[in-house]
Symmetry: C2
Subunit: 269 residues, 2 copies
Amino acid sequence: MLNRTHGVRLGLSVGRQHHLQRLVLRRRAEDVVGLDSSDDASIDQAVNLMNRTSLAGVVVLSPSDPMLERLRLERLRAPWFVEAEPALEEGQDDTAHHPFAQVVNHLADLGHERFFYVGGPLTWLPARNRRAAYREVIRRRGLVNCGETTGEWGAPWGAQAMRSFPVGDKPTAVVAASDQLALGALHWLHERGIRVPEDVSVTGYDGIPDAAYFWPPLTTVEVDFAHLGRRTVDALLAHEASGRRPDDTTGPTSTLVVRASSGASATAR
Amino acid sequence: MLNRTHGVRLGLSVGRQHHLQRLVLRRRAEDVVGLDSSDDASIDQAVNLMNRTSLAGVVVLSPSDPMLERLRLERLRAPWFVEAEPALEEGQDDTAHHPFAQVVNHLADLGHERFFYVGGPLTWLPARNRRAAYREVIRRRGLVNCGETTGEWGAPWGAQAMRSFPVGDKPTAVVAASDQLALGALHWLHERGIRVPEDVSVTGYDGIPDAAYFWPPLTTVEVDFAHLGRRTVDALLAHEASGRRPDDTTGPTSTLVVRASSGASATAR
């Protein structure tokens, strides 16, 4: 469809490869290519590569702020579209209805009142939005936020975050900003003999396939990355056809998946 | 360095993205691009894409047999190099010294005598080589192979494989062909209350970062994918410089990492 301008599209992904993998596997595998670029130098190099190649368009998936900033500075020649959620603010209804709110509401419905939050890197909009949604539900439902951490997305940072777990404040729920952060948190709890979910419930976010095989299997929000990818590629195609970006970017993209890592609060039993 | 022929190199990866991720992060991020292609149609499309783009060379990482076959049929124009281990045969010393042999020897050194093998898809050379190495150590050390499975690489197939676990034969060690297969095996054992490592030891292979956070943390062989990647890219560069492929493709590429998922055999205690 994009062949008249040579027909090579690049999807530029930054570190969280599973977004792109699903997208690539399900949609237009011939034209979407993943680049992992996590620092300024490699982003500059990626832009140079893209400017040397004939591109109909570039899809940028879930970028960090520094990444977006570099892309703006570097003057990418091809039209580019960013797959990114809008920035949320605390106090707004949108924030209370972000998909991330589902795990916090689920835990509150199970009787949990005291929470600990294991967050992602705040240079990423999704990390800021997830924290905003967490805080919003805590506030609206009169729950207690016993502490928050920020870090990177992977399991090591989940385990490290738990060093700040305020045992004395008796939190009964750990809300992690990603499944891999939750994996690290589970590891820390197991090491100390704290039972999941009998003593502490743990939830993740993203819905990576492995999460169903963590121990205990992880309650999470499964995000439909293929849908997000299609939506973004459709926006790119619509732009090529009409010069305009389509208005409709809504649709179901996430589902709460309840597994054994979350259970009734010990204090509520 | 490859700019005289436009300077775009593509690394073609097939499904096991962590190879490529590490490669991309550590070496020449500007020029190595990942394509996930798991079926004939998408491989054909990938080759078409590569033939439409100016490429100095293509690096093919750990392909499956059908993938290699398609690449041969499809006449890729750019020079291409395959990162693949040589095919191993049972009865050879090379087979007994494949890095995969390290987990089996480690378990035998702990006193394990009765083994169960959770294998990968046999259309992949690495899956065949790992099974050959497993069988070779079992044979040379006079151990008992209580059963073998084949499947895909991921956790769901690890859990499914364990349905064939011959409880009556009392195997005390599960050797999985990948860390994610091991994750599925751990899940199955936990669900049945079989303790790891007290009742059954489990080992993986690859050394993905999450494996250190599995429960219990997974004994595995950490493969230096960055080294494999550099070696392959170096072969490509050497070919461009001299028209010949370098002979030296040896070097350390793997390390046994012992964690809590493997312990002394109950029968040996």
